[in-house]
């Protein structure tokens, strides 16, 4: 079930309304049932796999706690983690591994294995990581093994986050399940506003951007130069807004019922370095990698060389997490290299005055330049993210070098749906998004500010927002709305 589907518009109000009517003791069972009903809409086999992972990790959590208390070594943990990752590895990566094995065996031994067509359950990458994080936390004593199976099952399947996160921590979410939340009009209003914002980002902006990006990238041989450059810039925004919209709706959905989920984004495009950018982008995943991979590898504690190695490992794995394809690995590694190069160049930048620090250097033009550089470096890496293969990404990069700036002026863009009106809607929408991000960066919380305003003003604003989404949103019969991009991960 998609957040922007009609079914969800029916499902969500009913589930959240009844949540407040269900007695406290039954609320976990109720939410668990609702979450499985939500998840089963995609495919019942997905729910079976989720249940198996839940049973396994629940039991292993209990087991690891007992073994930890008896003073076990990591040799106990590692096989359990490998086994936990197994469904994800088999279902998501077996074709990828076979392709690569075939490449080698095909050349050397003229033998190839036929590809296997397996289902890829929605959200498996997310709940597997959530479960692995839980097991490691239990092993390290940061988290008590959950005794209540239903509560643990809900932790992995909670419907606002099952499809694409945010990747939660047991210590943050499970205690919230145990509390019975009382209805708070202010909190519900705040959460609904966040959802409205999420729908705006998805239906008005991200889907509108997709309307330009997809035909251009899918037919990159036909479109060169400025078409492709604009498509890459648009895709950079699209990816952010698509995932941010999902996160807003997820956090808002949970918030209506009084639950607080991790934020996933913190104005990433206002980051002034790649390191800064990655602290703001998909934070629940980045933090997961930091805590469960980067730090266990040694982090920055074992010298510069090993720190660089660790960064590259983390980003390489992060790339692979996003998709079973070399272009994702290249995308991840490229982002790792950006950071390593940034660190290597730091002393040089200090010398020539490009690094941050110092009152004089902290001027708008400097900040703008660094922000734009970060944006374009990330946008460039996304060519590998968006392209279906590594070689296609290379061809797209070559295609960008075609000189055709006149297409912006001779009306060619309107053939791709970029009419004057559509362009105006897009520009205004993006300006609103950027303005909101800047305000958040300056500590101005719009929803909070709005709550101070008089009722009539709030109502007019909200009604206008809803009508804007309903009229300018890309949805409806004959329109095949794309899934949230991160659903496929």
């Amino acid at each position: 079930m998609n957040f922007h589907s009609f079914q969800y518009l029916i499902f969500f109000p009913i589930v959240s309304f009844l949540y407040y009517l269900v007695p406290g003791a039954a609320s976990i069972i109720y939410l668990l049932l609702a979450s499985y009903v939500f998840y089963i809409q995609s495919d019942w086999t997905y729910a079976v796999i989720l249940l198996l992972v839940t049973v396994w990790t629940y039991a292993m959590g209990r087991y690891l706690e007992r073994r930890r208390d008896k003073g076990g070594s990591n040799r106990v943990l590692i096989p359990i983690l490998i086994f936990t990752f197994l469904p994800l590895v088999i279902l998501k990566y077996s074709s990828f591994f076979l392709q690569n094995i075939n490449m080698v065996t095909g050349r050397l031994l003229h033998v190839s294995f036929s590809p296997i067509d397996l289902i890829l359950p929605a959200g498996i990458s997310f709940y597997t990581f959530q479960a692995v994080g839980y097991l490691i936390d239990v092993w390290k004593g940061k988290q008590k093994a959950e005794k209540d199976f239903l509560c643990y099952a809900l932790f992995l399947s909670f419907f606002p986050l099952i499809m694409s996160g945010p990747i939660e921590r047991a210590g943050h979410l499970i205690p919230q399940f145990r509390e019975k939340h009382r209805f708070s009009a202010e909190k519900v209003r705040d959460a609904l506003l966040l959802m409205v914002w999420g729908f705006f980002l998805k239906l008005v902006v991200a889907e509108r951007l997709a309307g330009y990006v997809n035909p251009v990238i899918n037919d990159y041989q036909k479109y060169g130069g400025c078409y492709l450059i604009l498509a890459i810039i648009f895709f950079t925004f699209q990816l952010y807004l698509d995932f941010e919209s999902y996160s807003c709706i997820a956090i808002g959905s949970a918030g209506v019922m009084g639950f607080e989920l991790f934020k996933n984004f913190n104005q990433p495009f206002l980051g002034m370095s790649m390191t800064g950018f990655w602290r703001r982008w998909h934070m629940s995943l980045t933090n997961w990698f930091r805590d469960y991979l980067y730090i266990p590898l040694g982090g920055n504690r074992k010298g510069k060389a090993k720190q660089y190695r660790n960064i590259l490992i983390v980003f390489g794995v992060s790339g692979l997490w996003h998709g079973a394809s070399w272009n994702y690995v290249v995308w991840g590694l490229l982002n790792g290299f950006y950071q390593v190069i940034g660190m290597l160049l730091k002393p040089f930048k200090e010398k020539v005055g490009f690094a941050s620090g110092g009152q004089k250097r902290d001027v708008f033009s400097r900040r703008l330049l660094k922000t734009l550089c970060t944006f374009f470096l990330f946008g460039f890496s996304l060519i590998f993210f968006k392209a279906p293969s590594f070689m296609t990404a290379i061809r797209i990069i070559k295609g960008c070098t075609v000189w055709n700036p006149w297409v912006f002026f001779d009306g060619s863009m309107s053939a791709l749906g970029m009419t004057a009106l559509e362009t105006a809607i897009l520009v205004i929408s993006l300006a609103i998004v950027v303005a909101v991000d800047i305000m958040h960066e300056k500590g101005i919380h719009i929803r909070e500010r709005l709550s101070y305003q008089e009722t009539w003003f709030r109502w007019v604003l909200i009604i206008c927002a809803v009508i804007t989404i309903l009229v300018f949103g890309k949805y409806g019969p004959g329109y095949k709305a794309s899934d949230f991009i991160y659903f496929k991960f």
């Binding site: 009609f6 009009a185 009419t419 009106l421 559509e422 009722t455 109502w459 909200i462 009604i463 809803v466 009508i467 309903l470 009229v471 300018f472 949103g473 890309k474 949805y475 409806g476 019969p477 004959g478 329109y479």
Partner: protein, 434 residues
């Protein structure tokens, strides 16, 4: 704080929330109505909003919509009628329009065209947006919901797209026009009468042996209409609005005769526009059509008045002209006359412009730079002769650099009412505004 005070605060909040959601619903409904597919037409809304009594109601597709003019029926015969047909309307949906109309008023008879009574199984064969045009103006209620449910079963867009116009047509925002924002009240009583001239190919008429009906979706719906008329004690009248050869071939004629037989058996009336009747009314396939298959105002007048004459005698319909209870009808006819002058500005072709003023209350003056071009514009000579106009050869000063100027004046007072300049487009072989 005492408990009762707490409760009153909660009630206040609940009340405020309800008000907010009511306002939101109103805003969505208004937006929905704004983006609704309507092609600038509100004639069905007009019908369902006004409480009037009618002698006749007309149902069907564009053939009927463009084939009978209720204003002519009023002015010539004193018959009150409304044309509820719409483009591409399949009989399956006409059934629901008729049902909703009969919930509103009880005419003496309902007149239905045979053209869209399909005998094919399992299809509605009506364009999706046209289905909206047919049904959206129906008043809210059980019939409308039934109609939507029925229509939705034929379209992949689904029931939601019918119930919610904003869901189906929100992307019309780029095509919104003045008519979407400002409701244009029209006094044409539903008809859309074409004022251009185009030759049509006359059909070949075969013998009147009725064909065997398969009982397809359309025929079943027509039978439901006959049942409904029986229940409501309204006379069903089946007619075959004249059309061209391609659309009225042997199979269509056999179907028509079979349906007419069923209509008569059900106590209804069938008016067959066969060769004999067409000759009687003098339908001219060279000049009485607005395009290859639809009648223009000449044709519509001939067909409409023939239907009126037949039904007036068969149903003993009374001439309401002069009856003070029907004064509104005369007022509406006058308003439609004025409205036609306003509509002149939308006409881009000379014949169409002239024929919109086909009314003895107007006098027309046609100035042309090269009179020999007149015969090159199909139908223009005919239009001039029917209106009794003699084109005046004029120099460039009068036609202001164009090829033709048409001036409309009040026939009685000679007061200037409107004028338009035309260029002769050699590609189209027509006098056009652009």
């Amino acid at each position: 704080m005492p408990e009762h005070e707490n409760k009153s605060i909660n009630f206040k909040k609940i009340g405020k929330t309800l008000i907010f959601f009511c306002l939101l619903a109103v805003a969505i409904l208004m937006t929905s109505n704004l983006v609704r597919w309507k092609r600038g037409n509100y004639y069905k809304d007009e019908f369902f909003e006004k409480d009037r009594s009618y002698d006749l109601l007309f149902f069907g597709s564009s053939h009927m919509h463009e084939g009978v003019d209720p204003i002519t029926l009023w002015e010539e015969e004193g018959i009150t009628s409304y044309n509820l047909a719409s483009s591409g309307e399949a009989i399956q949906l006409s059934y629901y329009v008729l049902k909703a109309a009969l919930e509103k008023t009880k005419p003496a008879a309902v007149v239905i065209d045979t053209y869209r009574i399909s005998d094919d199984p399992g299809t509605i064969n009506q364009e999706y947006s046209f289905a909206h045009e047919t049904l959206d103006a129906l008043p809210l209620g059980r019939t409308k919901l039934e109609a939507y449910k029925y229509a939705a079963s034929f379209y992949e867009q689904g029931l939601l797209s019918f119930i919610s116009s904003i869901y189906a047509f929100h992307d019309r925002y780029s095509a919104l026009e003045k008519e979407d924002f400002v409701r244009q009240v029209t006094y044409d009583k539903g008809a859309y009468i074409m004022t251009n001239i185009c030759p049509a190919e006359p059909p070949v008429f075969y013998d009147k042996t009725p064909g065997k009906l398969k009982g397809g979706e359309g025929v079943s719906s027509y039978r439901k209409i006959l049942e409904l008329c029986k229940e409501e004690k309204v006379i069903p009248v089946l007619i075959n609005i004249p059309t061209n050869k391609g659309l009225y071939q042997k199979s269509a004629q056999e179907k028509t005769h079979a349906l007419m037989e069923e209509t008569r058996a059900a106590g209804g009336i069938a008016i067959d526009f066969d060769e004999e009747r067409l000759e009687k009314i003098g339908l001219d396939y060279d000049y009485d059509f607005g395009d290859a298959s639809h009648l223009n105002l000449f044709g519509a007048d001939k067909v409409g008045l023939e239907v009126a004459a037949e039904l007036k005698s068969a149903l003993s319909l009374v001439d309401h002209r002069g009856d003070p209870a029907y004064a509104q009808w005369q007022e509406d006819a006058e308003k439609w006359r004025q409205q036609r002058i306003e509509l002149l500005s939308e006409k881009t072709e000379a014949v169409s412009y002239l024929l919109l003023t086909d009314d003895p209350v107007y006098s027309q003056r046609v100035y042309v730079k090269k009179p020999d071009l007149i015969e090159k514009h199909y139908g223009l000579e005919k239009a001039l002769s029917v209106l009794g106009i003699e084109a005046i050869e004029a120099d460039s000063d009068i036609v202001k650099g164009f090829d033709m100027k048409i001036e409309i004046r009040d026939a009685e007072t000679d007061q200037w009412l409107a004028e338009q300049y035309f260029l002769f487009n050699t590609g189209q072989s027509q006098f056009v505004t652009e």
